[in-house]
């Protein structure tokens, strides 16, 4: 063995020498290091608009850098390992080496060790670079452990695997070029196609393995992590051993050959076993759901027991809890109950149940607890039990309503992959939220037949908790205690209790009798230095934000306290069907992500940098105190009081979690408990939260072609809400459907009852029933009685009908006039509901454009001077209205939100432009009923062919790119709907449809677009000419601007000319039109003679702009 290790050392030493002298290695290593060092400047110094997660947590530095290096070293490793075998064969001097007394195992291991050594040095160099950035630029201290762990979990398995694989390929294929191509193909396939498919099993680079190292809890899911990386470690080892066996040199030692023969299958088997248990771990969520679905499938009707009190004593011991929950409850069913049904997380083992001083028999079936009381519980009677249980939380049973695929979807914060966790019971940390089901709840839990039904019992909770003396506890209400013993006494009935214990540092402030406290982890006080000047005004800033928010929501904050609690970044939550609220927002408690990662507003250093830049640009000096105040309110807006859901564009890029406080105002305070109309609660939630919504981001249009609301509308066009809700495939769009339909329901009713009256009524009902459930049937009956409508049938219709309205807007006019010595502004238009279904549109006129972009709005305060006016217009099937606004300000934009409709875009933006002065006007203020025949079709008497018509056709050229031809279907990106985003950088030589308010169309304003080419690809409009004669020919032009780039560039001409070919009786005429200088709307192309019969106009892809747009053409008889 000593000679063995000596030989390995000798081989390794000389291999390393030759490796370090290889130019390939030198150049690649230096490139890698330079690349990583340079990439660090924008990423980690805070001078560029790079997300906060790059600096907010110290592990991100080594994580990102090692991950980057890993891609590079995987490529280098392929080359090196295939190279040394090739070199062995090529160099005649190798023969002399081969006759030396070295076993093949020693020889190969020696060579591999040398490569490892080289990579070790590379890794260390990268870590040193990371450390430098960490020391000088990050807002957090240095965490030493991740520096050690990342090379071990990322580099080691990857390098071993790729070395093993390429050596094996080399000894079997025996051609370096082929090996190289095959392996690079493999790398590309795993990176771009296999990626996270098949449970992320093929991710040997560790790109999608959740490796984010939390400062609070470290790696989450160690076993899963070790399994995944272990697979590649073992495969690598096995491949290397096989390489030894297959090496073209006569073996020398029987012993080492035997070692290889034994170990290679052992490693291979280990890899297979690890993969197997990894997959079964990943599939645990499927199993948990299947089990619960089977068990809960037997449950029928409303849960009979209504829990009123829940008093828990909890022992937190390492990674276990031991608990005793005393619950008292009432039978709310109409009949006696002989079996009590509760649910509790299946990871918690029930030891004992006592009632009336006696131990009671019970059955445990996965998450269910069935208790048989000595005698049946009569209606309205009370009983109480004590349930003793212990164990940990089985997280695969959390969020049963979320599909396994969604659960397995990666949680990525830009570059970093984070493990999704729903509960923590660890030595140094505890976090239990209601979703963990860590205390017994009534009934079976989630019901697959009633996905929207959330059984919410408002209860009086009490909690006594014993934890490690070094931890402090944060929970709802008053928390008293020390040395690991705490008493938690919430001040109000709560729908659920949350408790967390950690090394928290608490900072509080009392603002207008609201106790506001911030609980952050030790050492996570980076923010202090950015707010050192606003100590005195802190309260005022918060008050201002609070009152602004409350004026939007229309409620006042119901609790005496608000606790902002930092929780590990891994803590994840989903949107449920039963509520808009996320698990991150609990009664009087918001669980903010570690270091505010996910919240760009938490990057105060970068904000400060931007503020400084802006001051420099404007040549001004904003006082520090003002900057800090600005920083704080922006943070509050982004995190807590801003938009209800993050803008679409960003949501796609990272987590879809919201921290908006809204649930503290409604969701956790009131609950419409309806077994027959379970969606009612969510619908009401959407209605109440409507003011918190932002308009759709225009970026969504350019990226994905349609907004989420439009996707929801497209779903609703064919199916009822009920159908969509029961279809797991539609889960992604469901929350948009619910939101859209929820608002729509109450707006529809409001249009009958009077908006304000309905709103007031609902709010008074809610105020009367704070902290208790409202029976849904009663709620509906009350509205019906109060307003004399049949709300139940509204709901039925709303829930089951599969048809949506469609609206036509026409005759928009706007002018100014003087009345009572003041200038007034009239905006007026006609709207027709051309469908068979009732509908409602929302009109907004605003002084500024009110457009919003994406990303953090650094240093940009809300536009205080923006004024807007809103109005809802109800339109029954086939009805038309004349709508007028008289305003004392000049609006710039009119937005028509068609809510639930078949219109595309669902929100039309109309630029009002100049307001002419009219001397004797007859303005309209309000809504006037008109006959649908009063609406004059501006195109009446003409022949219009739109790109949505059958008579429009687009010709595509054969796909010329060989690659695209050869690539199988699955390589092509999924396109779930017809409309594409107008992304000029990815336009193609195929006609694609896209939507915009500016395009021509009736219900659907769309056009086809294509990238400019040499005129060989065409699209055509055909029309049936009724009578021979001269016709004027027009084309519809809209100047589309993309939102990219600087404002100046955006407005630059970019569309060039379009070329139309008109086929008329005297031949064909090709005519160009300069789109940039043309008027928007119909443009005259010329007059031509057409005989009766088919006429045709074509557009070609000739042009020099960003794209060619084919929208509509018309023939007007002279």
């Amino acid at each position: 063995m000593i000679t063995g290790s000596g030989n390995i050392w000798t081989v390794a030493r000389f291999e390393a020498k030759t490796l370090f002298r290889s130019w390939f290695f030198r150049i690649f290593s230096i490139l890698a290091l330079v690349l990583i060092a340079i990439a660090g400047i924008p990423l980690f110094t805070g001078i560029a608009p790079v997300p906060w997660e790059f600096r907010g947590i110290p592990s991100s530095l080594p994580y990102m850098n090692i991950l980057l290096l890993n891609v590079i070293q995987a490529v280098i490793a392929i080359f090196i390992s295939s190279d040394f075998l090739k070199r062995d064969r090529k160099l005649d001097t190798t023969e002399a080496i081969y006759t030396r007394p070295v076993s093949n195992l020693e020889y190969v291991v020696g060579k591999i060790s040398a490569v490892f050594f080289a990579f070790l040095i590379l890794n260390v160099a990268v870590l040193i670079i990371s450390l430098v950035y960490n020391i000088f630029f990050a807002d957090v201290s240095i965490m030493p452990l991740p520096y050690l762990l990342y090379p071990l979990v990322i580099s080691l398995p990857t390098v071993l695997f790729i070395l093993g694989l390429s050596s094996l390929m080399m000894v079997t294929i025996k051609n370096q070029a082929v090996t190289f191509i095959v392996l690079l193909g493999y790398v590309a396939t795993t990176l771009f196609y296999l990626s996270t498919r098949f449970y992320n099993l093929f991710d040997y680079l560790g790109f999608n393995v959740p490796l984010f190292y939390s400062d609070i809890t470290g790696f989450s899911g160690w076993s899963e992590l070790l399994m995944h990386r272990g697979i590649y470690f073992c495969l690598g080892a096995a491949f290397i051993l096989v390489t030894v066996l297959a090496m073209k040199r006569l073996p020398q030692s029987r012993a080492s050959r035997r070692i290889c023969l034994v170990l290679a299958p052992v490693f291979l088997a280990a890899a297979v076993l690890l993969a197997g248990s990894f997959i079964s771990g990943e599939r645990a969520v499927d199993q948990a759901r299947e089990t619960m679905k089977t068990i809960n499938g037997k449950a029928t009707g409303v849960p009979a027991l209504d829990i009123d009190n829940c008093s828990i004593s909890l022992e937190h011991r390492g990674n276990r809890i031991e608990a005793e929950a005393g619950i008292s409850f009432q039978n709310r069913a109409g009949e006696a109950v002989s079996e009590y049904l509760f649910n509790l997380n299946p990871g918690l083992n029930v030891e004992r149940i006592t009632g009336g001083g006696k131990e009671l028999p019970f059955k445990r079936n996965y998450h269910l607890i069935t208790v048989t009381p000595p005698s049946p519980l009569l209606p309205r009677e009370q009983d109480s039990l004590t349930i003793t249980y212990s164990g940990s939380i089985d997280e695969s049973a959390c969020y049963p309503g979320i599909e396994p695929d969604k659960i397995r979807e990666e949680y990525r914060i830009t570059f970093f992959c984070v493990k999704k966790r729903y509960a923590f019971i660890e030595d140094r940390y505890l976090l239990l939220t209601p979703e963990a089901h860590w205390y017994p709840e009534s009934g079976p839990g989630y019901r697959w037949d009633k996905p929207a039904y959330g059984n919410t019992d408002f209860r009086n909770f009490e909690l006594d908790i014993n934890t490690s003396p070094s931890l402090s506890v944060v929970s709802q209400g008053k928390v008293n205690g020390e040395n690991g013993r705490f008493r938690v006494r919430p001040g109000a009935s709560l729908p659920g209790l949350t408790v967390t214990a950690g090394k928290y540092i608490t900072r509080s402030i009392e603002v207008d009798s609201l106790q506001l406290s911030l609980h952050t982890m030790e050492g996570h006080d980076y923010f202090l230095e950015y707010f050192d000047q606003i100590g005195d005004t802190l309260g005022d800033i918060i008050m201002e934000e609070k009152s602004e928010y409350e004026s939007k929501v229309g409620f006042s904050y119901p609790y005496p306290e608000l606790k902002l609690v930092e929780v590990p970044i891994s803590f994840f939550s989903y949107d449920k069907i039963s509520t808009m609220g996320f698990e991150t927002v609990q009664p009087e408690m918001v669980l903010l992500p570690e270091m505010g990662l996910n919240l760009q507003g938490a990057d105060f250093r970068r904000r400060a940098w931007f503020q400084k830049r802006r001051d420099e640009r404007r040549n001004q000096t904003t006082p520090g105190i003002e900057k800090q105040a600005d920083n704080l309110s922006s943070f509050i807006t982004e995190a807590l009081t801003g938009e209800l859901t993050p803008p679409e564009f960003r949501r796609r890029a990272s987590a879809e979690v919201s921290y908006n406080l809204f649930p503290c105002y409604y969701t956790h305070v009131n609950h419409i408990d309806s077994f027959s109309y379970p969606v009612l609660n969510t619908a009401l939630e959407s209605y109440l939260a409507e003011n918190l919504e932002s308009g759709p981001s225009r970026f969504a249009r350019f990226f994905s072609g349609v907004t989420d609301n439009e996707r929801a509308n497209m779903e609703l066009a064919d199916r009822s809400m009920r159908d969509i809700m029961m279809d797991p495939e539609s889960r992604d769009i469901l929350s948009y459907v619910l939101n859209l339909k929820g608002k729509h329901l109450f707006r529809l009713i409001g249009s009958r009852t009077g908006e304000e009256e309905l709103n007031n009524h609902i709010r008074s009902v809610l105020a009367e029933n704070m902290f208790s459930e409202i029976e849904g049937e009663k709620f509906v009956a009350q509205i019906s009685d109060r307003f004399g409508i049949d709300m139940a049938s509204y709901i039925d219709n709303w829930f089951t009908r599969s048809s949506v309205p469609g609206f036509l807007i026409s005759g928009i006019e706007n002018y100014q006039f003087v009345r009572d010595e003041r200038t007034r502004y009239q905006v007026r238009f006609k709207v027709l509901n051309g469908s068979e279904v009732d509908g409602i549109v929302k009109i907004t006129l605003s002084k500024s454009g009110g457009r919003r972009g994406f990303g953090p709005r650094f240093g940009r305060r809300r536009q205080e001077d923006d004024v807007s006016t809103e109005r809802y217009v109800f339109l029954g099937a086939g009805q038309a209205r004349d709508v007028g606004f008289v305003l004392n300000y000049q609006p710039a934009v009119m937005t028509v939100d068609m809510m639930v409709s078949r219109n595309l875009p669902a929100v039309i933006e109309h630029q009002l432009g100049e307001f002419d002065i009219i001397k004797s006007p007859s303005p309209l203020e309000g809504i006037r009923e008109i006959d649908r025949s009063d609406i004059r079709d501006p195109d009446a008497g003409t022949i219009v062919v739109d790109n949505e018509d059958d008579r429009f056709s687009s010709m595509d050229k054969e796909e010329t790119s060989l690659l695209k031809k050869v690539l199988p279907e699955f390589w092509k990106p999924e396109q779930e709907h017809k409309y594409s985003g107008l992304r000029y950088w990815s336009t193609s030589n195929r006609w694609k449809a896209t939507i915009s308010s500016k395009f021509y169309g009736k219900y659907i304003r769309s056009a086809h677009f294509i990238s400019p080419g040499d005129g060989d690809i065409k699209a055509s409009w055909k029309a049936e000419i009724p009578e021979s004669g001269y016709y004027d020919v027009y084309c519809y032009i809209s100047r589309i601007r993309t939102p990219w780039g600087r404002r100046r560039e955006r407005d630059k001409p970019s569309l060039g000319s379009n070329y139309y070919i008109i086929y008329h009786d005297d031949g064909t005429e090709e005519t160009g039109i300069d789109v940039d200088s043309a008027a928007e709307g119909w443009n005259f192309l010329g007059s031509y003679y057409f005989s009766a019969g088919e006429a045709r106009i074509e557009i070609t892809n000739q042009g020099e702009g960003r794209f060619i747009i084919a929208d509509a053409v018309k023939w007007v008889a002279q």
């Binding site: 000798t10 005649d92 023969e95 030692s253």
Partner: protein
């Protein structure tokens, strides 16, 4: 030390017979392997140095079975392959150091001493810092012999060591070998140049087309050619005829034409004179007869 080869055969790809039924015993001293290109010399050597497995037959080296005791055999062997030109990116001394390390000199100090001595011995000390791949052809061969010699191997196997060397280098190389051959070391030297053998070998084997055609002392081989080596005088026109009919060893210009040395059983019609044969004559005689007359048997050893 002794090498015993019994019924050794090597067949490539199931068809080409590279070695056929070789029986050979090799003792200490220099042993020459002679034969034309393609005779099987390299195959035999590569088998002996464990680079290749025989198809059948047995070989024991110092009592160790070549098939099973590769480690022990490799510990005894120093090998210089026929081609020895392409080096990894190592300096001259580093390459030697590598070989020394693999040959079992683990101690760094000892190894440095051994490497320096060896470099001195082969005259490469001055270029020790130069990349091995940058050495001249002769230097590379010397480095080759140095790496084979380092660690004092019991068996030295050198395959065509003098190819590409200039005459002076060839002489010094032969001297180096004969210095080495004193003692227990077995030196196996393969060559197709008779001159390499004549001055150094105590015993030799003659291979042709995979078969052992002679094994014994050089003198024995020479004896067999005695009486068949002639000096013939010829004029220009006759020279062509002679060349066509007999294997001509050498021709020298003479007063009336040419003095031709050739091999023949007998020769008529020419002015002839019997010559005392050398190894070269013997080799040609032997090869000619082997090729020309199948009747000749080879029971000489």
């Amino acid at each position: 030390m002794e090498i015993e080869i019994r019924e050794l055969s090597k067949v490539y790809g199931g068809k080409h017979r590279a070695l056929h039924d070789i029986d050979l015993e090799i003792e200490s001293g220099i042993f020459g392997l002679l034969g034309p290109n393609g005779a099987g010399k390299t195959t035999l050597m590569r088998i002996l140095v464990t680079l290749m497995e025989p198809t059948s037959g047995e070989i024991t080296i110092g009592g160790h079975d070549l098939r099973t005791d590769r480690k022990q055999i490799r510990e005894m062997i120093g090998y210089l392959p026929q081609e020895f030109k392409n080096f990894p990116k190592l300096k001259t001394w580093e390459f030697l150091d590598y070989a020394a390390g693999l040959a079992g000199i683990r101690d760094k100090k000892k190894r440095t001493v051994a490497v320096d001595e060896m470099l001195e011995q082969v005259g490469l000390f001055d270029v020790r810092e130069r990349r091995a791949s940058k050495l001249s052809g002769g230097m590379k061969r010397r480095l080759g012999i140095a790496q084979a010699l380092i660690g004092e191997p019991g068996i030295l196997v050198v395959d065509e060591p003098t190819t590409g060397l200039d005459p002076e280098e060839r002489v010094s190389f032969r001297n180096l070998l004969s210095d080495m051959s004193e003692g227990e070391t077995i030196i196996i030297l393969s060559t197709h140049i008779v001159g390499d053998i004549s001055s150094t070998c105590r015993r030799l084997a003659l291979l042709n087309e995979g078969e052992l055609v002679y094994s014994g002392t050089p003198e024995g081989l020479v004896d067999m050619a005695r009486g068949h080596t002639w000096k013939v005088s010829a004029v220009d026109s006759e020279l062509e005829k002679l060349k066509a009919e007999y294997p001509v060893i050498s021709t020298f210009p003479a007063e009336n034409g040419w003095e031709v040395h050739l091999i023949a059983e007998d020769i008529d019609g020419f002015d002839r004179e019997e010559l005392e044969p050398g190894l070269e004559h013997a080799y040609v005689y032997f090869m000619e007869n082997r090729v020309g007359a199948d009747g000749i048997t080879l029971d000489n050893h």
